[in-house]
Symmetry: C2
Subunit: 202 residues, 2 copies
DNA sequence: CACACTGTGTACGCTGTGTCCATATAACCA
DNA sequence: TGGTTATATGGACACAGCGTACACAGTGTG
């Protein structure tokens, strides 16, 4: 596996004594992200991360409070946040673009499996749940709400719409198919979600 | 704990040899459901279930392929399915009633935590994911889709609506708040979901 | 140069898993 | 009724992973 030597410039100097803290920290995060991509949360153990990073488990326990916290940090070091949300002035086009991009990220890359398994782990790991909300879910929700609010101010949407609920009905619907997976998560599905909401069912 | 003697009529005859299969099976399922309610998936282990049921782990391994399968069976023995979906002829009222009832079930009873943790576990347990889809998610989805389809036939909804996507935008949105929990899951939220979709955002 | 800080190796106990056995007894059949 | 089969039980085993503890060895700082 490539992660066994995370950086060719720094030969794996594995001896007894101390190594620079930042270097070890980086190697651990790289190893965590790589392991997450390779095996998912099921095979993600602190012991394996330590082995790949060539670090001691003690070091990991010292810096990360839980397995979930380490996994979340590892995920962010591997997957760029990509939080851009263009505001072209056409709310329907913007929502559709963002939702379709999200569907592709989640379906066509390893990010989907990792996100779903992080959410899964968060159901029994309160610290991970809090970290996920603060560092991932909430910022993304805020950006979408802001865009919706601007569209309401422009008069493209009714002024009495609750933008938070709209976010749940677009992204939440996608998460539903990602996590339950009783029906496929497709680009058409994303477009239908926007269409249902904007036009209404009647 | 009450589960230590699941049934007062059947004294805990813990000896060596064989016991009636149905009785043991029932005691294991009762123990599994009780443990699930008491501790959630985090503290749910085969060893504890065996101890509470007064059964041997071997017996459990023989009948249930995975921890998730046992948990799901245990859940169904404790929580009645309650799949009724009244069709009064007014689709908006029916959807609202069902969604509000779902919100109460999930928020005010132990079912919410168990469901979310079962879904969480399913993210790294393919067998549990399949069982959850077949025995829980799919039947509920089918009933909702059927009701929506009848409303379309009556002309209460547009004829070109995709009912499956509507289910994701109503129940999926609630699951989103249940699983991520960055915003509260309230009765008002449920009503807003229906309103958003039926009236449209414009 | 001395000191504090911190990563490393190693060891320990704990919990839970998954599997095996021999034994005991219920359920079934002749 | 009596023999046979099916199966639940207690106990043991190896294994993985967690979380913690301790002594040692280097790094960085004054």
């Amino acid at each position: 596996m490539a992660q066994l030597t995370p950086d060719a410039n720094t030969p794996p100097r594995r001896g007894r004594g101390r190594r620079p803290a930042d270097q070890v920290r980086t190697e651990i995060l790289t190893a965590a992200g790589g392991l997450l991509l390779a095996e998912g949360m099921a095979g993600f153990t602190i012991e394996k991360v330590a082995a790949i990073a060539g670090a001691s488990r003690m070091t990991i326990y010292k810096w990360w409070p839980s397995k979930g916290a380490l996994a979340l940090d590892g995920y962010f070091t591997v997957v760029a946040p990509t939080l851009a949300f263009p505001d072209t002035g056409d709310i329907v086009a913007d929502l559709t673009d963002q939702l379709v991009a999200f569907v592709h990220l989640v379906r066509d890359t390893a990010a989907g499996r990792i996100i779903s398994q992080l959410i899964g782990q968060a159901q029994t790991d309160p610290e991970l749940a809090a970290a996920y909300r603060e560092r991932y879910s909430w910022p993304r929700r805020a950006i979408a709400v802001e865009t919706l609010t601007r569209a309401m101010a422009r008069g493209q949407l009714r002024a009495d719409v609750d933008p938070e609920s709209v976010v749940d009905q677009l992204w939440g619907a996608c998460y539903h198919r990602l996590l339950i997976a009783d029906l496929p998560l497709t680009e058409d599905f994303a477009r239908t979600l926007v269409d249902n909401l904007v036009r209404g069912l009647r």
